[in-house]
Amino acid sequence: MSQQTVRQASNQSDHLLSVDSLDVEFQVPDGSIQALRDVSLVLDQGETLGIAGESGSGKSTLALAIARYLDNNARVPNGTIEFKGRNMLEFTPRELAEVRGNQIAHVAQNASKALNPSMRVGAQIRESIELHQDVSDDEVRERVFDALDQVNIPDPEETVTRFPHELSGGQQQRVLIAMGLACNPELLILDEPTTGLDVTTQAKLLDLIKELKTGAEVGILLITHNLGVIAQIADRVNILYAGEMMEKGPVDDVFTSPSNPYTQALLATTPELNRTKELRPIPGGIPALGEIPNGCIFADRCDFATDECQTGDIDVEAVSDDHETRCVNWQTAVDNPIEAGDATERKSRPGDVILEGKGVVKHYDEGTFVENLLSDHKPVRAVQGVDLTVREGETVGLVGESGCGKSTLGRTMLSLHELTDGVIEYRGDDLASLSKAKRKEFHAECQIIFQDPDASLNPRKSVRECIERPLKLFTEQDEDERIARVDELLEQVNLSLDLKNKFPHELSGGQQQRVAIARAFAANPSLVVLDEPVSSLDVSVQASILKLLGELRDEYNTSYLLISHDMGVIQAICDRLAVMYLGKIIEYGTMSDVFAPPFHPYTRSLLSSIPTLDPHEEGNRIRLQGDVPSARNPPPGCSFQTRCPQKIGDVCETDEPELVETNQETDHCVACHLDESGTTKPLETPVEEL
């Protein structure tokens, strides 16, 4: 026994970081929340360990616990956290301050909030160095530039004088990482480093993290809910669920032969490009961690659960030398894994045109008369002349990076925004000159669901009132009929009738979105605009909402206009797709048209930027240079010419390409000056050969 302890101790001290059977609990007014239970992990120098799991699984708590930064109501009743052989739980505040920012760097998620808004970014990086390193002023200056260089900030001299809000989201994240790297830490904790960034920006950041991995002897703890990111970057992965480690092992092993039902379910619920899989939602939800039930924490949601899973302690079992799983039935799970089946292709039979935009233009902030007189004020050209039709019974996707104008277009189509120019027709009639009765019909028929249900549901109205509202507005039903309809709708969106009298804040994000969907469908709309309907939701909830939307569409023969930045989501549900860049549609066609050559160079780079779940996939990713130009000042010619990897020359800078049909049968259009040989190269083509 004592020998074993000694061996363990010496073993642990070899690791850069070793967390052993860590418990973390939070004291709350009515008891305690067991946020982490029996969590163990090791991380060595030069290694990248991914921590994955849904939100609420305790990933960020783990990251903060390692940095010894927990709220006042947190307790660590059990376990050790050893950093280079020293137990961090016993550190004095002074010792902690010495280690933090110096040897252990924590890079928080959401860089726009994690940087001090009133300090220049140079000063913020500088502060880290001055705190921990005893170096001259000149050297500090140099090291600030070095750190910014290391994260590939194009113009460090210029950037140090900027305030955070003057940088783009990707650059803010880089600055935050630079701040973490400033003192050459030994442990770098990256908490959701790419969440909230566009795919093209994410792809570049992932490259940067890869570079850091090879360059320095730093150990990286990468926390993310995005399994694709883990597959691309991490060496090993730990899957966390409801505060427990479910599976850990090398990324290759875990992704190719997942040995825990939770890991399998998580993979099956994640959309993948180039594979039309039928996403499998995980039934149920993450349990509240006030009282931990006996047995396996995942048992209630698990396909393989047996009686054994409901009782007793579930121990970690070894799958192989360095691959462990917390499951008693893992062998069964490996033999019959949970996998997403292939989706059956939907046969949509588009009917009459419901909504048609012709030459839609929307400008924001056009400036007052005085402003235009006194300065060369430029409006934000959010949408610049777009034609778009949505027919009965079809789902049209609108995809593009943030700021491309997709949401503005969607809202303008529903006349939630005033049109700057162009015409929008509802069943052939100009929206601007609809009669009052017809306008009411339009509002009843065309509904919208927003990204953030928490903000779009009235907090003072119960679920029933929320859903009943459109029935009162648009139908002649009496109260009994309305209540019956509300019950029917709740059933259709798989919500328990008990929730009827609850208020939105009492529901989870997924439940709120279901209420928003029920509300939108209440008055039998023929068209629903879905504005990023799942992007604030967890991947398993996302899959179930997408499935629900698919079912409702089939039942009501509803058309969707789905706005999303996520190609995976688009692919899961759309029939046709429009790709937007800087307020213009640059490619348009059926799903199979857009996802296969001929490609617009922008579509090509979007598709190649998405991290896949296959750890071996190296791909020849296209990295777009720079940021999206300002919509106040779009470039002349082709709007994509400033970043296009396939730019051919002057013609791109002077002439704006028109949408040209490449496939007459399916109406596939691409707006590009490239000839066929340029657009038809397969997606895997290396960047140099484009």
Partner: protein, 319 residues
């Protein structure tokens, strides 16, 4: 360019507000029943005498004509003469304004050096006894009307065993700083009472919000000491809303000055206004009301400018 544009815009708006308020003041003061003529004549008034004196004062001219005269006078700083004493209005108003401003500024400085640091203390020592004590005290301060606190101060510190201060009056700064301050301190404390609590609570809540923000966590995780977290990272962001509150409160204080001056028999603008109302001395009254109004508007304009200097995210001229 954008800066000047923003400033120009703000100044135009401020000027317009002054114009509107000036008109309102004119309307309201001329609508006062009775006239200076009646006051001057006192018990000897006959309708003929009143009419005669009103004619001399020009009070019988059509309203529009008087309005134009008044407006032109205000803009050209020619505010006319007092109807009662015949002195130029400027000579009556300016020294009074100066005294009131002295009082208000001393009160404001007092607030800045007490309420803001205490607000920061309560925020950083949240939920400890010192926080509870100070927020408790400030609650009392908020609920007490200024005439009550002023009367209490007057009773407590100018009579009996704690007779530390003169019971009112004013000595000019030229008679010596301490003598001046001695007269000023008590009314200033009374004025301070009203705004102290607001400023303290505002500082506390915005500092707490700032201390809970993510960038403070970043700073702590960089190993920044708690002191630097408070003073270097949190203060600048946390005090932004306080700047606005200070400016608003300065205007409010100018309003409360009337009551406090009356209680402390402090010969400032407030007392002048009360007197002018009694005497229907319209030119004095109009100027005495308009001057603090302009001060209020100017201080708000200043606050906006300070705000933009503190917070780089506000781009002047853009929303």
């Amino acid at each position: 360019m954008v800066n000047t544009l923003y400033l120009a815009k703000r100044i135009v708006v401020a000027t317009l507000s002054v114009f509107v308020i000036a008109s309102l003041v004119f309307g309201m003061t001329t609508a006062l029943p009775g006239s200076a003529a009646e006051i001057i004549l006192g018990t000897q008034q006959t309708p003929e005498a009143v009419e005669q004196i009103e004619q001399q004062m020009g009070l019988d001219r059509p309203l529009s004509e008087r309005y134009v005269d008044y407006m032109v006078g205000m803009v050209t700083l020619d505010w006319g003469e007092s109807l009662i004493s015949g002195e130029p209005v400027t000579e009556r108003v300016i020294p009074r304004l100066q005294r009131t401003l002295e009082l208000a500024i001393v009160a404001m400085i007092m607030t800045i050096i007490t309420a803001i640091p205490l607000g920061i203390v309560t925020a950083s020592k949240r939920d400890t006894w010192i926080d509870n004590l100070l927020t408790g005290v400030s609650y009392v301060g908020i609920s007490m009307p200024s005439f009550v606190s002023a009367s209490l101060l007057l009773l407590l510190f100018t009579t009996g065993s704690l007779n530390w201060f003169p019971n009112g009056g004013y000595t000019p700064l030229t008679d010596g700083f301490f003598k001046w301050l001695h007269h000023l301190l008590l009314p200033a404390i009374a004025l301070n009472f009203i705004v102290f609590s607001y400023v303290l609570r505002q500082t506390r809540s915005s500092m707490i919000e700032t201390l809970e923000s993510k960038f403070i966590r970043t700073a702590r995780l960089k190993g920044v000491s708690e002191r630097s977290v408070l003073f270097k990272h949190a203060m600048r962001n946390g005090l932004l809303p306080t700047v606005t509150v200070l400016a608003l409160n300065f205007g409010w204080m100018m309003g409360s000055v009337v009551i406090v001056e009356e209680i402390f028999t402090y010969p400032g603008l407030g007392k002048l206004i009360v007197q002018a109302i009694h005497q229907r001395d319209l030119p004095v009254l109009q100027a005495a009301i308009l001057v603090p109004t302009v001060t209020f508007i100017t201080s708000n304009l200043l606050a906006d400018i300070i705000y933009t200097l503190l917070d780089p995210r506000i781009e002047l001229g853009e929303k």
